[in-house]
């Protein structure tokens, strides 16, 4: 099965280095106040790191597209769960009715 792509050693080392750098950045930046960006930046760095692992270490780059689709589906469904749940929590404090009830008399 020679068709399996053997990833060059250099790429693995680069990814490893990038992941370590990402860890250092995420710790360092946690001590800087970025205002409302604090959490998004931390999550963004984690997402970049996770993507590197999935793309290279887990060989998605070298696999059939269906594998990438599966990986994407997993995270997409997570987003469904988070967003549909949070839309409840974010709107719970809204005691006022909608400004324009659609069939008001």
């Amino acid at each position: 099965m020679s068709e399996h792509h053997i990833v060059p050693l250099k790429i693995y080392m680069l990814i490893f280095a990038a992941l370590l750098v990402g860890t250092v950045i995420t710790v360092a930046i946690a001590f800087v106040d970025l205002g409302f960006l604090n959490t998004p930046v931390a999550i963004l760095i984690a997402m970049v790191k996770a993507t590197l692992v999935i793309w290279y270490f887990m060989h998605v780059k070298y696999s059939p597209k269906i594998v990438a689709l599966f990986a994407f589906a997993g995270f997409f469904w997570l987003i469904i769960m988070f967003s549909m749940t949070m839309q409840d929590y974010y709107t719970r404090g809204w005691h006022e009715p909608l400004p324009i009830p659609f069939l008001e008399n």
């Binding site: 490893f16 370590l20 946690a30 001590f31 604090n38 996770a50 692992v53 469904w77 929590y89």
Partner: protein, 237 residues
């Protein structure tokens, strides 16, 4: 009506090398390639369910972090960043050694595979050891959620203890589930080593190593998210 034609008389769907044919292929697969692709796709489908499994925990985390950000920040300050960051490094390293093990498997270098697997196991145990130290600190500080949980941290008295307990409940379940996955992963690697020693792995058939690698990398990804979400809340204050 479908025609009954002998499969042998028609071109195969995929090239099928005779070497691969004899090795590790179960009877119900037509080609070794089909078997390899099935196995990796199956592992990915399993990883999708793992994502959603941890996703339930992350969902609860997202809700409570939004509701009780102050308590979460105070509780997060009780965690040791240096241990957490150190463990992140260890786990990333173990992902690298695992990737290298798979690479050697692809090249059929049997002895080096075992070497990299052993390195991965050692790093895995290193992670679990650090985790044990962290857990025992929490136990000592009465921060393990349960009937003995006490929240009396000077400087953090203005946060509600119940909400802190929610954080630590999530912390222990999330990291505990993660650690459990690591223990299972170590077990899988021991099984792989036995398999390699029995000469059941070669450059034509290394599927078990490949899919175990996928699993191990997934465990790494979970930690990549757990570390900033648990350890790094509100550190700038």
């Amino acid at each position: 009506m479908r025609l009954k034609l002998r499969a042998q008389n028609l071109p195969r769907r995929k090239k099928l090398s005779d070497a691969a044919h004899s090795l590790g292929r179960a009877h119900h697969f037509e080609t070794a390639e089909q078997q390899y692709e099935s196995a990796t796709l199956g592992m990915w489908a399993f990883i999708v369910q793992e994502i959603l499994f941890f996703g339930g925990l992350f969902g609860a985390y997202v809700v409570y972090r939004n509701l009780y950000i102050d308590a979460f920040s105070a509780a997060s300050h009780q965690l040791d960043i240096s241990l957490g960051a150190f463990n992140t490094g260890i786990l990333i390293g173990s992902s690298l050694t695992m990737a290298l093990a798979v690479r050697c498997a692809q090249k059929g270098e049997k002895n080096t595979i075992i070497g990299w697997l052993v390195a991965t196991i050692i790093l895995g145990f290193g992670f679990l050891g650090v985790k044990y130290v962290e857990y025992s600190h929490k136990w000592h500080d009465n921060l393990v959620p349960g009937s003995s949980f006490v929240w009396e941290k000077p400087g953090y008295l203005d946060v509600a203890g119940g909400q802190v307990k929610i954080f630590f409940s999530l912390y222990f379940v999330m990291t505990g589930m993660h650690a459990l996955h690591m223990v299972i992963g170590v077990g899988i690697m021991l099984w792989l080593i036995a398999k390699i020693r029995r000469n059941e792995i070669n450059e034509h058939y290394f599927t078990p190593i490949e899919i175990s690698g996928l699993y191990w990398h997934f465990v790494d990804i979970v930690w990549i998210f757990l570390f900033p979400l648990l350890y790094l809340i509100g550190r700038h204050t």
